[in-house]
Amino acid sequence: MEQLENSAWIVLLLPLFSAVVITLFTRRSGRVSALISIAAVLGAFLITLGLIPLVRQSGFVKVPPLNWISVGDFRIELGLLLDRLSMLMLIVVTGVASLIHIYSYAYMKGDPAFSRYFASLSLFTFSMLGIVLSNNFFQMFIFWELVGISSYLLIGFWHGKASAANAAKKAFLANRIGDFGFLLGIIIIWTLLGSVNFDHVEQRLITNPAALGAFAGLVGLLIFCGALGKSAQFPLHVWLPDAMEGPTPVSALIHAATMVAAGIYMLCRTFFIYQASSAWPEFLSFMNGITALEIIAWSGGITALLAALIAVQQNDIKRIPAYSTLSQLGYMTMAVGLGGTSAAMYHLTTHAFFKAMLFLGAGSVIHAMHHEQDIWRMGGLKKKMPLTYWTFLLGTLALAGVPPLSGFYSKDAILAKAYEQHTGFFILGLIVAVLTTFYMARLFIIAFLGNGRSNSAAHAHESPRLMTVPLLVLAVPTVLAGFFGLESYLSKDASHAHGGGINELLFGPINHAPFAALGGILAVVFGLFLAAGLYLNANRDPLPLKARGLARTLRNRFYIDEIYGELIDLTQGTLARLADWFDRWIISGLLVRGVHGTTEFAGRALRLAQTGNLQTYAFLLAAGIALLLLLVFKP
């Protein structure tokens, strides 16, 4: 038994090992590096599968921790937490990562920095697994940051390209802003509760819900900041679309399936702090009455809507899924905010599979089109790339939420939660569902149906098998994941688990919340018809003609990037300029050089006394003596 538990460490460390070995030894040989990396992640996946029964039995496995730092009350024990939640995530991460590693082998073939790619990918896998397996806030933060850096490396993989380098920088910075809150939140939790371990904190909050005192609400929000950055929620969402500058498999792995989901995972993992009271410190007294969860829900809702709207007017085959990812993450965040952590995780899982598939499909298209990404230059790929076509279709439908694909079930879970909690969110969810169907259908119709709109579209051909096999493999969970009732797998009390048979599985949603399910299906149908009406056989986007201003606003992403640019320039830029000015002119100029200059001036002035003329000297010494005499004798 013990060995089995410890094998979780192997899961975690295998990718790290691969990254280190590649960096140190096999940098020169790309093939070897790739094979090492693939072997490592596959190994991790297999061990993970082996661990499933363990968790199934006990539901909760604690791996003995390592004492990493222990200073006073500050005890950081690196440990692994294996429960249903992390197990699920572990499967998703290792599974998707394995496929993407394999896919990359073909996709990235011929790149001069093949080894670096796989080293970074391994590093990322390691970091992501670290987040998943963390048993305390601090450890999670560590891997949180590592994920940030590996994503930075991967986005900026083609660093010679200015846009890629800028995108990497932007992603890292946006994440850092979120991490600021995350770390501060952890600091406050540790200061007030004396521990960073999830179970200790949870225990303490259960025994004394007011343990966080006035900071309870703030802590919740601060922790959420971390998710805000990593899961690219409004207002920190700007980095994700730019991150598509990275290689497509990376986009699939990091910016669709795993890393961006980390925020949601983290919220679910630390959900216990939101159940404590939501009091606010004095300087935030105007927040009284609002809970942190509400803010989370609104943030998610707004992101979902905003991103979906923007996606409607994007023309890049990677950016549309990217905005879609944003939007779906918003969905999940909203679900968390509404208290539906299992719904969120459910959607996260299914989304990981079909979004990875979509991205890999897009990658396959790009690969086939010789790195052409504009959908208006594609078309008619249906015949050229049948495998890609079918899997992409499957993914589109799953994303739209067409029953009985997995997306339907998970989305429905969220809609049901929203319906149950707050009508506003439910309506918002429906609108987003319509939009989702619309933009995905638009993408699909333009890219795959109709006729080829360019040379490369005409000469496209199916990708190699190493790329299509992962697509096919991913199609399996896309279709089936909904049937397993993952939601129940997640919930901690076993009583909630499904007892019914296939009937319950298939029609559970409709039975439980018929209105939500119906609304979802209607939204899909509406969206599909809208898209088909507008884009079937279209050679140009008709929308900009019909709603010029709106379209332009959408295409320009509501000008949010520009506004941020201005805002940052106005605040941080101004402050930096001010500090620089102050440093240059006041401190080192006026003060330092001033003191220096004054001293020198005093010297030059004083030595004027040294005229060389004895008369002056005699006068000065007489005056000096008079001064001394006056000092001791006051007449």
Binding site: T599, E600, G603, Q610, L614, G624, L629, V632
Partner: protein, 476 residues
């Protein structure tokens, strides 16, 4: 007494031997003098000094302090003679007279070290001063040398007039000129204004010797104009003579209890430090720079006096010990350099590290030691001086002000001392890279000085002990 007599005998001997020495070999009389002084120095270690060894009705004393300074002066004179030998070709007339007058000045300093009576103070000081009038203007073919002599003479005359006047007042109040008697009579004239004025005037007179405010003003001109060996002797010998007299007067005749003269010393020290350091900043003439530096060093030394404690006085002694070698090293280098180029501008040291690494290193070390940076002698001296005034500052805020001024002064001094170092090692314009020939005497003197600067900085223990023992006979 025997030491002074021996020195005088050597001086007279040189004057005599001069008559039978061919002109070409007169320079070598210097070696004779050095050998003799060295013998006297060795002899001095066999002389027993004690607090009660008085002569001539108490006007002459041979306590450890006196012996310490006598040895100090002899060492200084040996080095000055070493410089003089290589400097001799630039003295137009009478090198042997030069030597002997140097020795007479030395004997004056040695008398001053033992002076225990205001009359002795006056007489020995005048012997030193008059000798220096002559030495200063010894290069009479150079206008600057004569001008320096005249300036030194006039300012010195005024200073001695003030001092004599002060002595008169002290004599009038105490009805004696003997230090011990003045001390014994202290209660009688406690806080009498005339006595206080007298003491202040005597301090002013001594300030002339040590180049401190209010009589510091001659120093740059005279340092610049005098022949380099004389400047060195002025900076080391004459200044130290002033200090031994100041210490002895203040701590055996007029202890602080009689009246609060520390106020006066604090003001003098502060103004001296400021004046010396500030004026030196724009200075480009090396000798003049050292003149200002000498003023500021007088200010630092006065800190130890102002502290009015055994620690302060022994710090003064230690500092002077380090200062001796530092200044000698600097002037040895300058005397060689000014021979090479008839110019004293700081630019003559440009590229010195190539032309003569030894000269470069010596001058740089001297400057760094003057700036007070470890591991050189100057650092430990400053450390002791600062320690002595910090000791007082806890209870007396005037000393706090003094500390701040001192810090300001020291940091300012870094600027010009290190400016010399910069000129040596990384001047932009280097006129020539020709090698500088070094006379053996100069080489010897430099090696000895470097060794001493380093030794005193790294192993200060022995000199500290000596200084502590020497000040034990003073009354605090």
């Amino acid at each position: 007494m025997i030491l002074e007599l021996a020195v005088i005998a050597v001086a007279l001997g040189i004057l005599l031997v001069d008559l039978w020495t061919p002109a070409a070999r007169k320079v070598q009389l210097g070696y004779l003098a050095i050998a003799a002084l060295f013998a006297i120095l060795i002899g001095s270690f066999f002389i027993e000094a004690g607090p009660n060894r008085h002569a001539f009705g108490g006007s002459y004393t041979l306590d450890p302090l006196a012996l310490f300074f006598k040895q100090f002066f002899i060492v200084a004179a040996i080095f000055v003679l070493l410089i003089s030998i290589s400097f001799a070709d630039r003295i137009a007339v009478g090198i042997s007279e030069f030597y002997s007058i140097l020795l007479f000045a030395l004997s004056g300093m040695m008398f001053a070290a033992s002076a225990n009576d205001f009359i002795m103070v006056f007489v020995s000081l005048e012997l030193i001063t008059v000798s220096f009038y002559i030495l200063t203007s010894f290069q009479r073919s150079r206008l600057k040398s004569v001008e320096a002599g005249v300036k030194y003479l006039i300012v010195g005359g005024v200073a001695s007039a003030f001092m004599v006047y002060g002595i008169a007042l002290i004599f009038g109040m105490a009805q004696t000129t003997n230090f011990d008697a003045v001390f014994a009579a202290a209660n009688k004239f406690y806080s009498k204004p005339l006595f206080i004025i007298g003491v202040v005037l005597v301090i002013a007179g001594l300030a002339f010797k040590i180049a401190a405010f209010p009589l510091q003003i001659w120093a740059p001109d005279v340092y610049q104009g005098s022949p380099a060996p004389v400047t060195a002797f002025l900076a080391v010998g004459s200044k130290s003579a002033g200090f031994v007299l100041l210490l002895r007067m203040l701590f055996s005749a007029v202890p602080e209890a009689v009246f609060d003269w520390s106020q006066v010393i604090i003001v003098i020290a502060a103004l001296t430090i400021l004046y010396g350091n500030l004026c030196a900043i724009p200075q480009r003439n090396l000798k003049r720079l050292l003149g200002y530096s000498s003023i500021s060093n007088a200010g630092y030394l006065l800190l130890g006096v102002a502290a009015a404690s055994a620690a302060g006085s022994s710090a003064v002694l230690y500092y002077l010990g380090g200062y001796l070698f530092t200044v000698i090293a600097a002037f040895t280098v300058i005397s060689i350099l000014t021979r090479q180029a008839d110019d004293e501008d700081i630019s003559i040291v440009a590229g010195l590290h190539r032309r003569s690494p030894l000269l470069a290193a010596s001058l740089a070390l001297a400057m760094i030691s003057l700036a007070g940076i470890p591991p050189l002698a100057g650092f430990f001296g400053k450390f002791l001086l600062l320690k002595s005034i910090v000791e007082r500052s806890a209870s007396d805020s005037r000393f706090l002000v003094l500390i701040i001024i001192t810090l300001f002064g020291v940091v300012t001094s870094f600027y010009y001392y290190l400016g010399v170092v910069r000129a040596i090692y990384w001047s932009k314009v280097v006129p020539d890279y020709s090698e500088i020939p070094l006379p053996l005497t100069a080489r010897l003197s430099l090696y000895l000085c470097i060794a001493a600067i380093l030794f005193l900085g790294i192993f200060p223990n022995s000199l500290v002990n000596m200084a502590n023992a020497a000040v034990a006979s003073l009354r605090f």
